[in-house]
Each structure stands twice: as C-alpha cells, then as structure tokens.
C-alpha cells in the first residue's frame, strides 16, 4: 500500500510536503538507537519523538515516513530537514498503541 493512501484511510495529518512511497512494514519506537538497529528500509516509523535525530535515522535507513503520535508537532527546522531528505511526516492524536491497531486493521503487517 502507498503511504498517501494509508494516510487517507487513517486520517493522518500531513505535516511536511507529500512524498509518496510504498509502506513495507511498521516499526514503533521512541529510541533512535533502537530504530537504527532494528527498523528495515521501507518501514513506517511510529513514534512520539520529534527531534531531528529521528529524521536522521529515518533517512539513514530509507524509511518510508514517520507518524508522530499524541498530537506532537515537530518544529519548523525539523520539518525543513525532513523535506530536504524527502521524509514525509504525519501526525495523529492517537497514541502509539491505538495507531498500531489502526495500521493492523488497515492491512499493514
């Protein structure tokens, strides 16, 4: 499934410019080191972190995008960096567990 289609299904709010990519899987973590060690290329990262190092990790691993939960809003500088790296960021009011269940219901495994 493509990321924009998934975002529409789950009513995610786009924070950056859109960069549509195929969703290969999901990884849920708030630790940058954990993401680097365990996430896979194409994964959608679900996190509460809004630090620029999350963008750095997503870019390094070629993740398809980031969903920031609990209505956290990254700063303008982080959004600019994400756009330069072509990493789309979405936000949602849901928490990580709620997001995980919605992703599962949407068919992401």
């Amino acid at each position: 499934m493509m990321l924009q289609e998934l975002a529409q299904k789950l009513d995610l709010k786009l924070v950056t410019a859109p960069f549509d990519r195929e969703v290969g899987g999901v990884y849920i973590s708030d630790m940058v080191s954990d993401v680097i060690a365990n996430a896979k290329a194409g994964d959608l990262l679900v996190t509460v972190q809004i630090h620029s190092n999350v963008i750095a990790a997503a870019n390094l691993l070629d993740l398809c995008g980031i969903v920031v939960t609990q209505d956290k809003q990254p700063g303008d500088d982080v959004i600019r960096l994400a756009e330069k790296a072509e990493i789309p960021i979405y936000s949602t009011a849901l928490n990580r567990w709620q997001m995980a269940t919605r992703l599962y219901e949407a068919g992401i495994r």
Binding site: S33, A37, N38, A41, N53, I55, A56, D62, G75, A85
Partner: protein, 179 residues
C-alpha cells in the same frame, strides 16, 4: 524513483544494547566516553592514575559488528560512538554547509563520531571502516538515486559537538524538545 534488488554485501551483526557513558577528569577537564553493556549505566567516580573520572551523563545506545556476507569476515565497530547527520550540526558549521549542498544532489552526509582514547584524546574512524559502513547503509536504500555518505570526523566536530547532536538516545526523557 528507481529501485532494484541486490544482495547486500554487509549485514549488521552482534548488536549489543547498552549505554554511552560520558565522564570528565576533574583536574584536567578532559572528557571521554565509552560504551557500557551493563543494564544500568555506571555513575561512580573513580581514580585512574592521576586522573579522577567523574560521571557527566549517559545515553542509551548500541554497539554492533558488520559481517561480510560473502567471506563471513566479521568487522568490529567498537570505536564507533554514533553518527551525526549534517542536519543536526550548527547552521554555520562547514559540515552543515557541505551537507546542504550534497543533499540537493540527494547525497546525505553523516559523520562517524568515535570514542576518545583512554586519555580523552580524539580518534577517527579508519577510512576502510568508513567504506564498510557506507556500503552497509547504501545497500539498504531502495531508491538508487539517493546516497548515504558517511565520513570520518574530518571536520573536528568532537571539539564543538554536544552529545545530543549524535544519533544516540541522549536526553531521552526530554521528549518534548523539538529540533
């Protein structure tokens, strides 16, 4: 976007969770960091010769080795503290300015930050190991027009960086901070 599949030459193996422990010598003000695989980062101060090392901070992190999938050779990366993305560097720093230019060509620059020597002296990742890291991460990238370029610390970032700029989980509890 162009993508093609090819077998990666390298894979990350022997991933060990732990902490980057940062400490300073009370007398000389030298700072050094090292990796602890203990479940809880040690915080005790201790004498080492004429130096008194005092705990300054810790960050959750991990260590890993890299295995050549063809030969089976395992290359340890125990000197690697973490990677610093150009976007996390100061806006007026050379690495940030070079990184901005490179990113326009879809090349993302990271700088490999290594642990200091026992005396707190800076070190650099050997060029051969930087080449291995570059291959490890670039082989994962699906979009072949995009490149990751990991450089040794040719910029002397160790002199001006803060540990929070490196891709380790420093200040993890401060999750409300942006940028």
């Amino acid at each position: 976007m162009s993508s093609e599949s090819r077998a990666p030459q390298y894979e990350m193996v022997n991933v060990r969770a732990g902490h980057v422990v940062i400490e300073h010598d009370v007398r000389s003000r030298a700072v050094r960091s090292w990796f602890s695989a203990e479940p809880v980062a040690p915080v005790e101060e201790y004498w080492e010769g004429r130096r008194l090392w005092r705990h300054w901070g810790a960050a959750q992190s991990f260590q890993f080795d890299v295995r050549d999938t063809a030969s089976g050779e395992v290359i340890p990366f125990r000197e690697l503290l973490g990677l610093m993305w150009y976007g996390c560097c100061r806006e007026d720093s050379p690495v940030r300015r070079i990184g901005e230019l490179a990113q326009e060509q879809r090349v993302s620059i990271y700088v490999a930050i290594t642990y200091e020597t026992a005396d707190g002296e800076p070190t650099q990742l050997p060029r051969e190991k930087a080449a291995v890291l570059n291959r490890l991460f670039n082989d994962r990238v699906r979009d072949r027009s995009k490149k990751i370029l990991i450089l040794p610390d040719l910029f002397g970032l160790y002199r001006e960086m803060s540990y929070g700029q490196i891709m380790i989980d420093f200040g993890l509890t401060a999750i409300d901070e942006g940028g």
